[in-house]
């Protein structure tokens, strides 16, 4: 089964600090996504990335968020100035087609 990996598994940061979450999709994946899941809540879509650009983003994905695929393998999510409400599990997903989204194990972000 294809495997998407994410680092770090846990991240603790102070409010206002910048964080970068990293994802390594499978090499032949073309579509990339970030979702998040606040504790006890539903998984929410943040952003999709295809052909080296953002293809869709949600209302949550405001100017504090950005994504990048700097070297053709890693896919990163940056939060410029974290807020308490950014605390959540952040999942990267990737797939060869739009319909197949394989999720990584997640990064648990805690903002203090």
């Amino acid at each position: 089964e294809p495997e998407v990996t994410q680092t770090p598994s846990h991240q603790v940061t102070q409010m206002g600090q910048e964080v970068i979450l990293r994802c390594v999709p499978i090499s032949n994946h073309l579509y990339f996504y970030w979702y998040r899941q606040i504790l006890g809540q539903k998984v929410e879509f943040l952003v999709s990335f295809y052909n080296n650009e953002i293809s869709e983003k949600s209302e949550i994905f405001d100017d504090q968020f950005s994504v990048e695929r700097p070297d053709g393998s890693n896919f990163t999510l940056k939060i410029r100035s974290t807020k308490l409400e950014d605390s959540a599990m952040y999942f990267c997903a990737a797939g060869q087609t739009q319909e197949t989204q394989y999720f990584g194990p997640g990064t648990r972000l805690l903002v203090l």
């Binding site: 089964e1 998407v4 579509y31 996504y33 979702y35 539903k42 998984v43 929410e44 879509f45 999709s48 295809y50 293809s55 869709e56 949600s58 999942f91 739009q98 319909e99 197949t100 989204q101 394989y102 999720f103 990584g104 194990p105 997640g106």
Partner: protein, 112 residues
């Protein structure tokens, strides 16, 4: 807006029995549906997907049925095993959009 609902928040079955997990969706424009399994502390795991032009799809020990008339899906798991214990989500998607819409999930508990 879009919403995804689940009929039962928790389903308890005996090991070896078949499980049926139901899902209702509201957006009749959904083009495909993906079932995910999420174990505690892990990312959603892709189980099976089905296009809206199909009414049944089978995988290994799983069958998904789609009834577009009443906007309902079910995931049938044959010979349920302890390792099947998890939260199950159905996530509709559209060809015109990259995001998946997750509901709150159904927790499947397998009794030994």
């Amino acid at each position: 807006g879009e919403s995804v609902g689940l009929h039962l928040p928790t389903l308890s079955v005996q090991e070896g029995d078949n499980s049926i997990i139901n899902c209702a969706y509201s957006n009749s424009a959904s083009d495909y549906f993906i079932w995910y399994k999420q174990e505690s502390g892990k990312g959603p795991q892709f189980i099976i997907d089905i296009r809206s032009n199909m009414d049944k799809r089978q995988g290994q020990r799983v069958t998904v049925l789609l009834n577009k008339t009443v906007k309902h899906l079910s995931l049938q798991i044959a010979a349920t095993q302890p390792g099947d214990s998890a939260v199950y989500f159905c996530a509709p998607g559209r060809d015109s959009s990259y995001k998946l819409i997750f509901g709150s999930g159904t927790r499947l508990l397998v009794r030994p």
